[in-house]
């Protein structure tokens, strides 16, 4: 997997703290402001960035990220432009791992090998392809492996003991636990159930486990960060961009997002973690 991603998780483990993974959509609300937002994320405490690339038909996303995608597309957003944005971000930041997140078809149209090469060149460390499950991801995985880009697989509340090994076999980077049955940002997480699921996954893999889809506030972020290696927050940040757009104050979006990121980063980083997280499986 990507060295940048491995190094970041190793450093976090050494400090015994969890990571905040901050999701934003590329080119939302426009390319310039989007770059400012990206640059603000690490400063505000985001350890890893999840960079969405837009798709017209985001079947797994709730209203917040759906609208972010539409804003991006309206501003000329595309997979190519997402990679260009990332390349610009990399001019100033070579340390923060960036995971691309989106849907199959833009990748299909670019072609797996071309996508993997372009993503590597832009400075991507991983990919989450929401609608490419393990049954369908072998050719993509092979192309990404050639470029040392992690293909992040997802586990969910519908993942039973029989399916989990299939997901973990061939997983790289980290395991993304989708903590609710539903779309992004719609249901609130049940921290107790999520913590139990994280522990179940950690017993079966040495990979870091991130939790996302239902984390919106500091309290739930802290509860998850006590057991998980990373907490993913997306809709709560994207909503800050939407508010700035609605208020006709696009220029405020970077600082508003940064403020929210800081709140959640403080909660995640301050979580009281039990020791020896990493030695779950000797």
């Amino acid at each position: 997997m990507s060295e940048r991603l491995a190094a970041r998780f190793a450093a976090l483990r050494a400090q015994n703290r969890a990571a905040l993974i901050a999701y934003v959509m590329a080119d939302d609300p426009n390319p310039d402001v989007s770059l400012d937002i990206l640059r603000a994320l690490p400063q505000a405490g985001a350890d890893i960035i999840e960079l969405g690339f837009p798709f017209t038909d985001p079947m797994a996303d709730g209203p917040s990220i759906q609208r972010a995608g539409l804003r991006s597309l309206k501003a000329g957003g595309s997979l190519k432009r997402t990679l260009a944005l990332l390349a610009k971000f990399r001019e100033e930041d070579q340390a923060t791992p960036v995971i691309l997140m989106g849907y199959a078809n833009p990748i299909e149209q670019m072609g797996y090998a071309d996508f993997a090469a372009a993503a590597k060149f832009a400075g991507a460390d991983g990919l989450i392809a929401v609608d490419i499950p393990p049954e369908e991801d072998s050719p993509l995985r092979a192309a990404l492996q050639n470029e040392n880009i992690a293909l992040i697989r997802m586990a969910t509340p519908t993942t039973d003991a029989a399916r989990l090994p299939k997901i973990l076999e061939g997983a790289s980077g980290f395991v993304y636990y989708v903590s609710v049955t539903g779309v992004t940002g719609a249901k609130a997480i049940g921290p107790a159930a999520a913590r139990e699921a994280v522990q179940r996954i950690k017993r079966a893999t040495d990979l870091p486990v991130a939790v996302g889809f239902g984390v919106r506030d500091a309290e739930s972020a802290r509860a998850i960060a006590e057991v998980a290696d990373a907490v993913v927050v997306g809709s709560a940040f994207v909503d800050e961009i939407a508010k700035a757009v609605d208020a006709d104050r696009i220029q405020d979006a970077p600082q508003n997002v940064a403020h929210k990121v800081k709140l959640l980063a403080d909660a995640v980083h301050g979580a009281a973690r039990t020791a020896q997280q990493e030695s779950a499986r000797a």
Partner: protein, 406 residues
């Protein structure tokens, strides 16, 4: 080719593939559900009891078998091969959609599901789903684009009369593809109790297979009826293709009959060109991934899905079933197209010569049947799937013809 011939009827393979098309491109949350559905479907398919129950409802509730009718005056009009209509428009609810809905709701109940969801564009699949939900007493939520709700008010009212909740979809472009996105979002949210009745041969495996199987009653009946009337197989079969469920239902039982030419007719809208004011995914699209499968799609360079257009709301979908994509890729079926204007002309001609107002969807097949009949010539015969009746379309047709209805 002979090797392909032997395998055609065994498709899709265990991964839900028709050649390079099909598959299961859904979020991980749904994967265990589509695997469950596949297991349940295999069991049902092997069950005599399930088959008998479905057959009884198809006979007594839907009114099957539907007749195979010799369209004598249309045949004389074109002066070529004999044209037969498979009269799916005579089914309960006025179209072929009910065949699939009955099959799926019986499967849903077998799986212990207690809530039904569906997507609809023109409203025909929504009405058919609302109908079977009323019949079996299951709550029904139909997702429909807000734009389509405006365009198809009579069908919205029909669904409500049947007790369904019609939920307006305002996301994206607020049409059929967005309704399907929203149905998938509902399914991923309500995984425990909900069964998603998909209306066409799209979606993740096993949907393209099971919808095809439930619709294949059309082709099985038509094949036997034609042999009974003519003492031989037809020389061609023809049907309109949006997602393509009525077409695959007619085509599939003829795939192994090499002498039978197969024609699908896509909606060319205002012409197949780079304005994308059409819905011809095969004729004017490229392969890609949407709604759970790989198939031909209307899309731009970046893989963003385009809306498309057709005068027929039922054909107005930017994709096509993966099995059609496959039949096209290996050349077993030929995909033609008809414009809005050609479909309108065929709609009127069929009314005037045969006393049958066809659905605008079916009118696309009618618009090409003359070409095929003339090409085949006298002494040959062709079966056209008259997949739905045109009553639902009279407002659209009136509008297109510049007539105002009260």
């Amino acid at each position: 080719m002979p090797d392909d011939l032997r395998t055609w009827r065994n498709l899709p393979d265990e991964n839900g593939r028709f050649g390079e098309f099909g598959g299961r491109y859904v979020a991980e949350t749904l994967m265990p559900l589509v695997h469950d559905l596949e297991r349940a479907y295999r069991e049902a398919k092997a069950s005599n009891e399930f088959r008998a129950e479905l057959d009884a409802f198809l006979r007594d509730y839907v009114g099957r078998p539907s007749p195979l009718y010799f369209a004598e005056r249309l045949t004389a009009h074109y002066g070529g091969a004999k044209i037969y209509f498979k009269r799916e428009e005579l089914n309960h609810t006025g179209a072929h959609k009910i065949n699939n809905c009955l099959g799926q709701i019986l499967l849903a109940m077998r799986m212990g599901k207690t809530r039904i969801i569906a997507e609809t564009g023109a409203g025909q699949h929504g009405v058919a789903t609302a109908t079977v939900c009323a019949r079996f007493g299951l709550p029904c939520t139909v997702f429909m684009g807000a734009v389509d709700i405006e365009r198809q008010k009579p069908n919205v009212f029909r669904m409500r009369l049947l007790g369904a909740e019609v939920r307006p979809v305002t996301s994206g472009a607020a049409t059929l593809k967005d309704a399907m996105n929203e149905a998938l979002r509902d399914w991923v949210t309500n995984v425990e109790n909900t069964f998603y009745i998909i209306g066409t041969v799209a979606g993740p495996h096993p949907y393209p297979e099971l919808v095809r199987d439930f619709q294949s009653v059309i082709g099985h009946e038509a094949r036997a009826q034609h042999i009974e009337k003519e003492g031989k197989l037809p020389d061609a079969v023809i049907a309109c293709v949006g997602g393509g469920s009525n077409a695959i239902g007619l085509f599939h039982p003829f795939l192994q009959d090499e002498s039978v030419a197969i024609y699908g007719v896509e909606a060319a809208g205002r012409g197949i060109d780079d304005r994308f004011e059409h819905s011809a995914a095969i004729g004017g699209g490229r392969p890609g991934v949407l709604h759970g499968n790989r198939t031909y799609l209307l899309q731009n360079e970046d893989g963003q899905i385009l809306e498309g257009h057709s005068i027929s709301a039922g054909l107005d979908y930017p994709g096509v079933g993966p099995e059609h994509a496959y039949l096209h890729s290996i050349g077993r079926a030929t995909y033609l197209s008809a414009t809005d204007d050609e479909a309108l002309a065929a709609f009127q001609l069929c009314g005037q010569l045969e006393g049958i107002l066809p659905a605008l969807e079916s009118a696309h097949a009618l618009a090409r049947v003359g070409d095929v009949a003339k090409q085949l010539g006298a002494g040959k015969s062709i079966i056209l799937n008259l997949s739905g009746r045109g009553d639902k379309d009279i407002f659209t047709v009136a509008d297109a013809l510049g007539t105002t209805l009260a």
